[in-house]
Protein backbone atom coordinates (compact mmCIF):
# COMPACT_ATOMS: atom_id res chain seq x y z
CA UNK A 1 0.00 0.00 0.00
CA UNK A 2 1.00 3.61 -0.36
CA UNK A 3 2.65 5.87 2.21
CA UNK A 4 -0.54 7.63 3.29
CA UNK A 5 -2.35 4.37 4.01
CA UNK A 6 0.52 3.06 6.14
CA UNK A 7 0.85 6.40 7.94
CA UNK A 8 -2.78 6.80 8.96
CA UNK A 9 -3.37 3.11 9.65
CA UNK A 10 -0.40 3.00 12.04
CA UNK A 11 -1.49 6.25 13.69
CA UNK A 12 -5.03 4.99 14.19
CA UNK A 13 -3.76 1.70 15.57
CA UNK A 14 -1.67 3.67 18.07
CA UNK A 15 -4.78 5.50 19.26
CA UNK A 16 -6.99 2.40 19.36
CA UNK A 17 -4.43 0.39 21.33
CA UNK A 18 -3.44 3.39 23.47
CA UNK A 19 0.20 3.11 22.43
CA UNK A 20 2.69 5.89 21.62
CA UNK A 21 1.43 7.18 18.29
CA UNK A 22 4.75 8.63 17.15
CA UNK A 23 6.53 5.28 17.54
CA UNK A 24 3.68 3.51 15.76
CA UNK A 25 3.74 5.94 12.83
CA UNK A 26 7.52 5.80 12.52
CA UNK A 27 7.42 2.01 12.42
CA UNK A 28 4.42 2.08 10.12
CA UNK A 29 6.33 3.82 7.35
CA UNK A 30 9.83 2.51 8.11
CA UNK A 31 9.70 -0.70 6.02
CA UNK A 32 9.33 1.41 2.88
CA UNK A 33 12.49 3.34 3.69
CA UNK A 34 14.19 1.69 0.73
CA UNK A 35 11.90 3.49 -1.73
CA UNK A 36 13.50 6.79 -0.67
CA UNK A 37 16.88 5.37 -1.67
CA UNK A 38 15.52 4.22 -5.02
CA UNK A 39 13.93 7.62 -5.62
CA UNK A 40 17.26 9.32 -4.97
CA UNK A 41 19.06 6.83 -7.17
CA UNK A 42 21.10 5.52 -4.23
CA UNK A 43 21.95 1.84 -3.81
CA UNK A 44 20.15 -0.20 -1.17
CA UNK A 45 21.25 -3.69 -0.06
CA UNK A 46 17.76 -5.26 -0.02
CA UNK A 47 15.02 -5.60 -2.61
CA UNK A 48 11.73 -3.84 -1.98
CA UNK A 49 9.32 -5.82 0.19
CA UNK A 50 12.13 -8.19 1.04
CA UNK A 51 14.08 -8.40 4.29
CA UNK A 52 12.76 -5.06 5.59
CA UNK A 53 9.23 -6.47 5.40
CA UNK A 54 9.77 -9.42 7.72
CA UNK A 55 9.01 -10.03 11.39
CA UNK A 56 12.68 -10.95 11.93
CA UNK A 57 13.90 -7.41 11.30
CA UNK A 58 11.19 -6.19 13.66
CA UNK A 59 12.47 -8.53 16.37
CA UNK A 60 16.02 -7.28 15.90
CA UNK A 61 14.93 -3.64 16.06
CA UNK A 62 12.75 -4.24 19.13
CA UNK A 63 15.57 -5.93 21.04
CA UNK A 64 17.91 -3.05 20.22
CA UNK A 65 15.27 -0.47 21.03
CA UNK A 66 14.40 -2.01 24.39
CA UNK A 67 18.05 -2.28 25.39
CA UNK A 68 18.55 1.37 24.45
CA UNK A 69 15.39 2.89 25.93
CA UNK A 70 14.02 0.36 28.48
CA UNK A 71 10.59 1.70 27.46
CA UNK A 72 8.16 -1.17 26.90
CA UNK A 73 5.41 1.21 25.75
CA UNK A 74 7.53 2.69 22.97
CA UNK A 75 8.59 -0.79 21.88
CA UNK A 76 4.95 -1.92 21.86
CA UNK A 77 3.93 1.11 19.78
CA UNK A 78 6.78 0.49 17.38
CA UNK A 79 5.89 -3.19 17.12
CA UNK A 80 2.22 -2.44 16.45
CA UNK A 81 3.11 0.11 13.79
CA UNK A 82 5.52 -2.23 12.07
CA UNK A 83 3.06 -5.13 12.11
CA UNK A 84 0.38 -2.79 10.74
CA UNK A 85 2.61 -2.23 7.72
CA UNK A 86 3.08 -5.95 7.13
CA UNK A 87 -0.64 -6.55 7.70
CA UNK A 88 -1.88 -4.25 4.97
CA UNK A 89 0.92 -5.20 2.61
CA UNK A 90 -0.38 -8.77 2.89
CA UNK A 91 -3.40 -7.52 0.90
CA UNK A 92 -1.12 -7.10 -2.14
CA UNK A 93 -0.92 -9.93 -4.66
CA UNK A 94 2.81 -10.31 -4.01
CA UNK A 95 2.39 -10.75 -0.28
CA UNK A 96 4.78 -10.84 2.64
CA UNK A 97 7.28 -13.43 3.83
CA UNK A 98 5.78 -13.79 7.31
CA UNK A 99 7.93 -16.86 8.02
CA UNK A 100 11.20 -15.44 6.67
CA UNK A 101 13.81 -16.93 6.12
CA UNK A 102 11.37 -19.43 4.63
CA UNK A 103 10.80 -18.02 1.12
CA UNK A 104 7.01 -18.46 1.28
CA UNK A 105 4.92 -15.41 0.47
CA UNK A 106 1.57 -15.07 2.22
CA UNK A 107 -1.04 -12.95 0.50
CA UNK A 108 -4.74 -12.23 0.87
CA UNK A 109 -4.68 -10.91 -2.71
CA UNK A 110 -7.35 -8.29 -2.08
CA UNK A 111 -6.02 -5.24 -3.90
CA UNK A 112 -2.89 -4.04 -5.67
CA UNK A 113 -0.58 -1.74 -3.71
CA UNK A 114 -1.67 1.35 -5.66
CA UNK A 115 -5.42 0.65 -5.64
CA UNK A 116 -6.94 4.09 -5.04
CA UNK A 117 -10.13 2.88 -3.33
CA UNK A 118 -8.23 0.62 -0.97
CA UNK A 119 -5.61 3.23 -0.11
CA UNK A 120 -7.89 6.22 0.38
CA UNK A 121 -10.52 4.03 2.03
CA UNK A 122 -7.97 2.92 4.61
CA UNK A 123 -6.96 6.54 5.13
CA UNK A 124 -10.58 7.65 5.65
CA UNK A 125 -11.43 4.73 7.94
CA UNK A 126 -8.28 5.34 9.99
CA UNK A 127 -8.98 9.07 10.32
CA UNK A 128 -12.47 8.22 11.59
CA UNK A 129 -10.98 6.10 14.36
CA UNK A 130 -8.32 8.70 15.13
CA UNK A 131 -11.07 11.26 15.65
CA UNK A 132 -13.13 8.87 17.79
CA UNK A 133 -10.16 8.10 20.01
CA UNK A 134 -8.87 11.61 20.23
CA UNK A 135 -11.82 13.71 21.25
CA UNK A 136 -9.52 16.68 21.82
CA UNK A 137 -8.99 16.93 18.07
CA UNK A 138 -12.75 17.08 17.52
CA UNK A 139 -13.10 19.71 20.23
CA UNK A 140 -10.38 21.84 18.70
CA UNK A 141 -11.81 21.44 15.22
CA UNK A 142 -15.32 22.33 16.36
CA UNK A 143 -14.23 25.32 18.39
CA UNK A 144 -12.07 26.66 15.60
CA UNK A 145 -14.73 26.19 12.98
CA UNK A 146 -17.36 27.84 15.19
CA UNK A 147 -15.02 30.65 16.21
CA UNK A 148 -15.54 29.86 19.90
CA UNK A 149 -13.05 30.24 22.68
CA UNK A 150 -12.51 27.88 25.59
CA UNK A 151 -11.38 30.69 27.92
CA UNK A 152 -13.32 30.64 31.16
CA UNK A 153 -15.03 27.36 30.40
CA UNK A 154 -14.15 24.37 32.52
Amino acid sequence: MLFQAHFFFALALGYVLKLPAKAAVLAGVLPDLDTAFYALGLPFPFIHRGFLHTPIILGVILIGMYLATKRADICAGFGAGFLSHLFIDTFNPTGIMWLYPLPTFFTLDLATYSNAIANWGIVAWSIAFILIFNARIITKLNLKSLGLKMRGIK
Binding site: L17, Y38, L108, L110, N115, A118, G121, I122, W125, F129
Partner: protein, 142 residues
Protein backbone atom coordinates in the same frame (compact mmCIF):
# COMPACT_ATOMS: atom_id res chain seq x y z
CA UNK B 1 -14.82 -2.62 35.12
CA UNK B 2 -11.33 -2.79 33.59
CA UNK B 3 -12.24 -6.10 31.97
CA UNK B 4 -15.24 -4.45 30.36
CA UNK B 5 -13.07 -1.61 29.07
CA UNK B 6 -10.52 -4.07 27.68
CA UNK B 7 -13.24 -6.07 26.00
CA UNK B 8 -14.70 -2.90 24.51
CA UNK B 9 -11.29 -1.86 23.19
CA UNK B 10 -10.76 -5.34 21.76
CA UNK B 11 -14.13 -5.14 20.04
CA UNK B 12 -13.29 -1.74 18.59
CA UNK B 13 -9.93 -3.07 17.39
CA UNK B 14 -11.70 -6.01 15.72
CA UNK B 15 -14.15 -3.60 14.07
CA UNK B 16 -11.29 -1.39 12.95
CA UNK B 17 -9.34 -4.27 11.39
CA UNK B 18 -12.45 -5.81 9.84
CA UNK B 19 -13.22 -2.45 8.24
CA UNK B 20 -9.69 -2.25 6.83
CA UNK B 21 -10.07 -5.74 5.35
CA UNK B 22 -13.47 -4.87 3.92
CA UNK B 23 -12.18 -1.67 2.34
CA UNK B 24 -9.26 -3.47 0.71
CA UNK B 25 -11.57 -6.17 -0.61
CA UNK B 26 -14.00 -3.55 -1.93
CA UNK B 27 -11.12 -1.70 -3.59
CA UNK B 28 -10.05 -4.83 -5.44
CA UNK B 29 -13.63 -5.82 -6.26
CA UNK B 30 -14.86 -2.43 -7.49
CA UNK B 31 -11.88 -1.73 -9.69
CA UNK B 32 -12.13 -5.19 -11.20
CA UNK B 33 -9.70 -8.00 -10.75
CA UNK B 34 -8.74 -7.80 -14.42
CA UNK B 35 -6.79 -4.65 -13.65
CA UNK B 36 -4.09 -6.92 -12.36
CA UNK B 37 -3.60 -10.25 -14.06
CA UNK B 38 -1.58 -12.33 -11.70
CA UNK B 39 0.03 -15.09 -13.74
CA UNK B 40 1.55 -16.68 -10.68
CA UNK B 41 -1.60 -17.78 -8.91
CA UNK B 42 -2.38 -21.45 -8.75
CA UNK B 43 -6.06 -20.82 -9.45
CA UNK B 44 -5.38 -19.28 -12.86
CA UNK B 45 -7.14 -21.28 -15.57
CA UNK B 46 -4.71 -23.79 -16.99
CA UNK B 47 -3.71 -22.88 -20.52
CA UNK B 48 -2.95 -25.44 -23.16
CA UNK B 49 0.68 -25.71 -24.03
CA UNK B 50 1.39 -23.80 -27.24
CA UNK B 51 4.37 -23.30 -29.49
CA UNK B 52 6.22 -20.01 -29.90
CA UNK B 53 4.96 -19.60 -33.47
CA UNK B 54 1.39 -20.25 -32.37
CA UNK B 55 1.58 -17.62 -29.63
CA UNK B 56 3.16 -15.04 -31.93
CA UNK B 57 0.46 -15.69 -34.52
CA UNK B 58 -2.45 -15.38 -32.08
CA UNK B 59 -0.88 -12.58 -29.94
CA UNK B 60 -2.97 -13.21 -26.80
CA UNK B 61 -1.98 -9.93 -25.15
CA UNK B 62 -2.20 -9.84 -21.33
CA UNK B 63 -3.43 -13.43 -21.23
CA UNK B 64 -1.89 -16.32 -19.34
CA UNK B 65 0.00 -18.63 -21.68
CA UNK B 66 2.09 -21.76 -21.42
CA UNK B 67 4.80 -22.22 -24.02
CA UNK B 68 7.47 -24.81 -24.66
CA UNK B 69 10.64 -24.06 -26.56
CA UNK B 70 14.39 -24.23 -26.70
CA UNK B 71 16.56 -21.50 -25.19
CA UNK B 72 18.19 -19.71 -28.11
CA UNK B 73 19.75 -16.63 -26.48
CA UNK B 74 20.45 -15.60 -22.91
CA UNK B 75 20.72 -11.92 -22.02
CA UNK B 76 22.31 -10.48 -18.89
CA UNK B 77 20.06 -9.95 -15.87
CA UNK B 78 18.13 -6.71 -15.63
CA UNK B 79 17.95 -4.81 -12.32
CA UNK B 80 15.09 -2.37 -11.85
CA UNK B 81 15.33 0.94 -9.99
CA UNK B 82 13.74 -0.71 -6.96
CA UNK B 83 16.39 -3.40 -6.92
CA UNK B 84 14.34 -6.24 -8.37
CA UNK B 85 16.38 -8.54 -10.58
CA UNK B 86 15.00 -10.21 -13.70
CA UNK B 87 16.35 -12.99 -15.88
CA UNK B 88 15.80 -12.61 -19.60
CA UNK B 89 16.28 -15.03 -22.42
CA UNK B 90 14.69 -16.08 -25.70
CA UNK B 91 13.02 -19.37 -26.52
CA UNK B 92 12.41 -20.70 -30.00
CA UNK B 93 10.46 -23.48 -31.67
CA UNK B 94 12.87 -23.57 -34.57
CA UNK B 95 11.22 -20.88 -36.67
CA UNK B 96 10.32 -18.00 -34.34
CA UNK B 97 11.53 -16.83 -30.95
CA UNK B 98 9.98 -14.95 -28.05
CA UNK B 99 11.54 -13.27 -25.08
CA UNK B 100 11.02 -14.59 -21.56
CA UNK B 101 11.32 -11.94 -18.85
CA UNK B 102 11.09 -13.40 -15.39
CA UNK B 103 11.43 -12.04 -11.89
CA UNK B 104 14.01 -13.64 -9.59
CA UNK B 105 12.08 -12.34 -6.57
CA UNK B 106 10.91 -15.81 -5.56
CA UNK B 107 13.92 -17.65 -6.96
CA UNK B 108 15.92 -17.99 -10.15
CA UNK B 109 16.08 -20.72 -12.77
CA UNK B 110 19.24 -22.23 -14.15
CA UNK B 111 18.79 -22.16 -17.91
CA UNK B 112 21.47 -22.69 -20.51
CA UNK B 113 21.48 -22.29 -24.26
CA UNK B 114 19.78 -25.24 -26.02
CA UNK B 115 17.82 -26.23 -22.89
CA UNK B 116 14.20 -27.17 -23.53
CA UNK B 117 11.95 -25.23 -21.20
CA UNK B 118 8.27 -24.72 -20.50
CA UNK B 119 7.18 -21.27 -19.41
CA UNK B 120 3.88 -20.18 -17.88
CA UNK B 121 3.22 -16.47 -17.64
CA UNK B 122 1.55 -13.44 -19.13
CA UNK B 123 2.04 -12.68 -22.80
CA UNK B 124 2.58 -8.96 -23.17
CA UNK B 125 4.09 -6.29 -25.36
CA UNK B 126 6.82 -4.19 -23.78
CA UNK B 127 7.85 -1.36 -26.07
CA UNK B 128 8.05 -3.01 -29.46
CA UNK B 129 8.94 -6.45 -28.07
CA UNK B 130 6.58 -9.29 -27.33
CA UNK B 131 7.52 -11.18 -24.21
CA UNK B 132 6.30 -13.66 -21.64
CA UNK B 133 6.42 -12.11 -18.20
CA UNK B 134 6.47 -14.36 -15.18
CA UNK B 135 8.28 -15.44 -12.03
CA UNK B 136 11.40 -17.47 -12.78
CA UNK B 137 9.96 -20.24 -10.59
CA UNK B 138 7.38 -20.70 -13.35
CA UNK B 139 10.08 -21.64 -15.82
CA UNK B 140 10.81 -25.35 -15.92
CA UNK B 141 13.72 -26.99 -17.68
CA UNK B 142 12.39 -30.18 -19.30
Amino acid sequence: MNLNKDLLRLGILALFLAGILGIAWAGGYLTGRTIYVNPFQDDQPAEEMGSVSQILQELPLDKAVSVEGMVSRILSDYTSKKGYVYQQFYITDGSKEVKVFCSKYKGSVDVRKSDNVSVTGTFQKYGSTYEIYTECTNVEVI
